[in-house]
Symmetry: C2
Subunit: 358 residues, 2 copies
């Protein structure tokens, strides 16, 4: 269903499981150390958000997310010819920044569930979600500066990594601002949607795919190419996410059925369908411009709307777009001379991100 | 009334007006450029918060705050023997971080007025206040990194400045977490209160007083002494602020009369009064432990509570504490060999911060 990209049958990629596991096993201990530095009760709120404890403070083997970003950070160190360990401060940093944005976005968007659990703001209140988000973002810079102090990177490379992550963080925030502004509009163009998704999702994946290389001393040419890989991978991921947001099953996504349609979210399939201009497209535009029933639509109404988007070509266009972005991401890898296995791992991770059932 | 520190009559200090004006005139243009980089509508929300426009978008000659932090940043460059201009990226950075914390704190605390104006979250909604706060914090790092790119600082000094500001930002967040946690308690010790205020107010003033010197290449000894000056100045400032929060007039503070008492805020006068242990102290403790009427107390009830705090010595202790912190701040200046005029300016700014009517 969400097999938007890749050609032919999906290969089993056991190496992806190992790559993600390696990212978690190398990055989670320093991530937990960083979080433990926070003043109470922020350490508890953060530990809940990351899935390390439940709402009563008991240890939990929770779903802390796939941790694709740390895995990319380690690979990017290897792309620069360094051991994966050189990427660890980068992996910790991008995971902190990613989770800062989740904490704040969930609150701003009023989302009550993430990763099949109640979101932090619903458990600990809005103030704690704001505060802990702020703290994680700041820690995201601190762990990179610490790398220079502990000798895990030169001061110059740590500073370059800080710049990389800071720029990505600001794009992330710009993307969320654009996403929020879309809520007040009936129509959003495909270009606007792509720009928003490039900021909101592409920027941090771009930084993730380059930060390990930067910490390992790679030059700007290598960093730029790896960032392009991550940026287009992010756009491919987001296209698939937009498809799942409409046609994904709750048990797979952990989000309410038809959630994006109920919120009238301006995602890629909707923008593409509105741009098509045929009869289904016009009907869809009429429905979305109608303030009546906003957020109150019944399941059959939402199912019919999903069908309209599909008839107007929004689903197929987004599937094609996911494939295009995926291929552009892989093409960027060709600009970086790297170990063949490392390249295969980048490709496998890209396939995992784009061709996913969950 | 708020003349908590200083001995003898307060001297007129026209130079303070000039110092603050210099800080604003050098730092506001690059501050506005930085804010203009934000995606719409964040640029508008930030411009409103800074007092540059009113809620309808019309230019305003608003009260953007005293801008003590930029003035300190410029002075600190001069303390290192450099022109004031070397401190500009630091002044812009600390003003951005300070305003990030104001935007988020106002929302977390539910404060509806600041600087005699409606707070940003009441005008633009909570989501925009969260988002713009995030953006300002990130810009606070970016402007320091930009200083290295434009040659206004060496890469190494810019990185040291980033570390200084990042550490201060995390302490700021720790302080706000502590402040929020106090709300759920009846009693807070003087030590806990001082630690919270050191984080919430002292840390960023410490960074402000050192960041210009760091950007100008001063060594750690100079930076440490200037940070101590700023830290104790912050504690002195906060002691005065706590006095004004109880005994200050609305027309002076821009905040509701008896505001801190109505919120049962655990400020220094209250903590000191509770520690005293006499009859007034015990009566105060009883009132604060009584959940009845919380936030609903009438003016006479609050006036009587203020009198209890004063009887238990909370007002006098806090006045003494402000003076002690002020003197410790000035003593730290003696550790840095600096131009006599620059030292006088540091002293004048300290006096202005501590001995204030507004």
């Amino acid at each position: 269903m969400a097999r938007a990209a890749g050609s032919g049958p999906v290969r089993d990629t056991p190496s992806v499981v190992e790559l993600l596991a390696r990212g978690r096993s190398l990055c989670t201990p320093p991530l937990r150390s960083a979080v433990a530095r926070l003043a109470a009760p922020m350490d508890t709120v953060a530990a809940y958000h990351f899935g390390w404890i439940d709402r009563d403070g008991r240890p939990a083997a929770g779903d802390g997310g796939k941790a694709v970003r740390p895995a990319l950070a380690l690979l990017s160190a290897e792309a620069a010819g360094a051991p994966a360990e050189y990427g660890v401060p980068g992996g910790v940093s991008v995971e902190l920044v990613h989770n800062f944005s989740l904490l704040h976005d969930d609150l701003m968007d009023g989302d009550e569930f993430r990763r099949h659990r109640a979101t932090a703001w619903t458990v600990f209140g809005p103030a704690q979600a704001i505060l802990v988000g702020d703290a994680l973002a700041t820690l995201g810079t601190e762990v990179l500066l610490d790398a220079a102090v502990s000798g895990k990177a030169t001061a110059a490379d740590a500073a370059r990594a800080v710049r990389l992550i800071t720029t990505a963080t600001r794009k992330l925030i710009d993307g969320q601002a654009q996403d929020l502004s879309f809520e007040h509009r009936d129509v959003v163009t495909v270009e606007e949607c792509l720009e928003m998704e490039g900021n909101k999702t592409g920027a941090l994946l771009a930084a993730s795919a380059a930060v390990g290389a930067v910490l390992a001393g790679a030059d700007d040419r290598v960093s730029d190419a790896l960032q392009r890989y991550g940026h287009h991978l992010g756009l491919a991921f987001q296209a698939v996410d937009d498809l799942l947001g409409i046609w994904g099953a709750t048990e797979v996504t952990g989000k309410p059925h038809w959630g994006d349609l109920r919120q009238r979210k301006k995602s890629l399939p909707v923008a593409a369908a509105l741009a098509e201009g045929g009869e289904a497209s016009r009907l869809l535009a009429e429905q979305l411009a109608d303030p009546k029933g906003r957020g109150e639509e019944s399941e059959p109404v939402l199912a019919a709307r999903a069908a309209l988007i599909e008839q107007a070509g929004g689903r197929a266009w987004t599937q094609d777009e996911a494939r295009r972005q995926y291929e552009t991401a892989l093409a960027a890898l060709d600009e970086v001379p790297m170990d063949r296995t490392v390249r295969e791992h980048f490709v496998a991770l890209a396939e995992f991100v784009v061709v996913r059932e969950r």
